[in-house]
């Protein structure tokens, strides 16, 4: 399948839809028996921990195919490695779109990586949906009608903490520990949204660290010295665990808000010491596989049975698999809604027409909803507090602004 376009003018070539669709009413990436779906994950490189998500996807579609597929078709899931390097993401996206001719890209991982391909995907008019990143910018249908996120944005979560603090602890003196990258900075923006003009009144100081740092001890010491009584921690698991332990070791007892990225019992709380984390508040949208609260939960029983059969050697404490199951279930609903029309236009249209979808791995009450103007599928979260043994949900389901 070689497309020679020596005669095509440059502008036309950019906008040109792949030949396959121009020729006939055949739909790219879809045959009578198969739907081709592309995905990009960091199986190698610094973020290879997240490769688990991709392995989860592969298992999910294996099960789907064994059960007969969807819309009378089997899913041909092609997942490629980008080593978490944006140039490689561009290369792999082009391979999937131009060479493999996939119907759409599903759940590529990483904020910089998706930033690098967003423009390309929208120029090519290929759905770029349910991304593995919590940046806020993926829900912008006006400028990027082919791109859609999935999880609640980091910014929404930070707004929730800010609102909680203003309501319940109006005299709070807040310090923030954030990772100096797109993830950490989004929390700062969210806090600024949430506190609004009172930001300077509440927040004494922000402290950054690099993912390449060895420890955050120095930051913790400085944070305590400010005399603050409330912390917001936007850190990946390793540093979150260090922070929890250091705060307890310093005999500091602040009100501690922890990003849900690092709320895993198995990967953060247990290593840090469950007794040291008592009282920490996070906000959740999905069930934690390591939290005994969900031992008898139907959704998680379904997930465990799936894991046992399709990924018997996998680490069940790894939240990546739960995430994968949730996002794949969402996609399955989109494909079901497509009926038999798997054109790219219909796929993005159906992705933007999810109505109150209940996903087994999401918290009770958290639903997935989208519309033509709302490209933030999950906007709801619930606060929960670490009791020493489990996360105890409290308060109502909170709807983020989803702006």
């Amino acid at each position: 399948m070689k497309r020679r376009s020596l005669l095509a003018t440059a502008g036309a070539a950019l906008a040109a839809a792949p030949l396959a669709r121009a020729l006939a009413d055949t739909v790219v990436g879809v045959t009578a028996t198969e739907i081709k779906i592309g995905n990009i994950m960091p199986y190698s490189g610094p973020a290879s921990a997240y490769g688990a998500i991709g392995h989860g996807h592969v298992a999910f579609f294996k099960r789907l195919n064994e059960q007969g597929g969807v819309g009378g078709r089997k899913v041909n899931f092609i997942t490629l490695d980008d080593g978490y390097s944006p140039p490689k993401t561009v290369e792999q996206a082009r391979r999937l779109v131009e060479q493999e001719q996939v119907a759409f890209l599903f759940n590529p991982l990483g904020t910089p990586n998706n930033s690098a391909i967003q423009k390309y995907m929208n120029q090519k008019k290929v759905p770029h949906i349910f991304l593995s990143t919590g940046a806020d910018k993926w829900g912008d249908p006006e400028h990027f009608p082919w791109t859609m996120g999935w999880q609640p944005s980091y910014r929404t979560e930070a707004q929730i903490y800010a609102k909680y603090i203003m309501k319940n602890k109006p005299a709070a003196k807040v310090v923030v520990l954030y990772q100096n990258d797109d993830f950490g900075k989004d929390y700062l923006i969210g806090l600024k949204d949430g506190f609004g003009k009172d930001y300077a009144k509440y927040v004494l100081k922000e402290f950054s660290f690099e993912v390449t740092d060895a420890t955050i001890d120095s930051q913790a010491v400085s944070m305590q010295a400010t005399g603050a009584d409330t912390i917001v921690t936007a850190a990946t698991p390793k540093f979150a665990a260090q922070m929890i332990r250091k705060v307890a070791d310093m005999n500091w007892k602040p009100l501690h808000f922890l990003t849900n990225v690092s709320a895993s019992v198995g990967a953060v709380i247990t290593p840090a010491g469950p007794e040291k984390a008592v009282g920490i508040i996070t906000s959740a949208y999905a069930k934690d596989p390591t939290d005994p609260t969900w031992d008898k939960d139907a959704g998680m029983i379904e997930w465990r049975a799936f894991m046992k059969k399709y990924l018997p050697d996998a680490d069940l404490t790894d939240g990546g698999y739960v995430f994968s199951y949730g996002v794949c279930t969402t996609l399955l609903q989109v494909l079901k809604q497509c009926g038999t029309d798997f054109s790219r236009e219909n796929i993005i249209k159906q992705a933007a027409s999810l109505k109150n979808l209940v996903v087994p791995t999401l918290l009770p009450g958290v639903i997935v909803s989208t519309s033509a103007t709302n490209f933030h599928p999950i906007r709801q979260m619930q606060l929960s507090k670490w009791s020493g043994k489990t996360w105890e949900l409290f308060g109502d389901i909170i709807e983020g602004t989803g702006a």
Binding site: S44, T212, A214, N251
Partner: protein, 290 residues
Amino acid sequence: MDGLLHQLISGIASGGIYASVALALVMIYQATHHVNFAQGEMAMFSTYIALTLIQAGVPYWAAFCITVPISFAMGAVIQRVLMEPLAKAPILASVGVFIGLLLMFNSVAGWIFTYTLKPFPTPFGEGKPLFGGFISRHELGSTAITLVVLLSIWAFFRFTRLGLAMRAAAFNPVSSRLVGVPVNKMLALGWGLAASIGAIAGMMVAPVIFLDPNMMAGVLLYAFAGALLGGITNPLGAVIGGFIVGIIENLGGAYVVGTELKLTTALFIIVVVLTVKPAGLFGKTVVSRV
């Protein structure tokens, strides 16, 4: 003033971590005149071996004592199988192998042991932290272990014939061979010792920063910095260098430039020190022959 004191203590605690890894780097440099970029990953891998043993029910110190010789064997085998055939090849080929090893150890560890963060036990008791919570028992204990290792290395190179032979083999392989030093055995021994020291460093670091396949990435840079500052030819210098880096990192980050430029500061200090004293603060300037 309290804050300053706390930052200082905290800096010494982190410095202890850097010092222990810096020591392993100096060891391999002394024994082979290479800096092994895979050192950190090998240490991480050894730590996983120790954790596997401990989880299988082996008591801590027994696991410790088993892991060290296993790591020794791992180092010696790598030297024998991978480095020895490349002895006459351009130095760049060795660096290529180091990078290859780094990628392999990291990837294989993730594959076998998964990427989930794991706690690693400490032999020094989980009890209440000392000095108002700014230094844990473990950090104190591990610093003591680092000093013991340092003393042993120093004594080994200074007082034993073997140590002398090793230094000779690394410094001038051709002449050493002529006077009857079994150079290849010495190099294998050097790799083994470096891997063992790396394993000890890994087991001392892991309780503080938790174990995962990327554990050493952050430590290694500061360990390099410590070794450079102190002088890569001098074990004591490297340990002091490690502590200095820990303290400067903490004080600089807290009071001078802020955390957003901490790494840049570390880089700047290395450059300044090395410009003034090219062999590090305590290193010997190597005079090379024409």
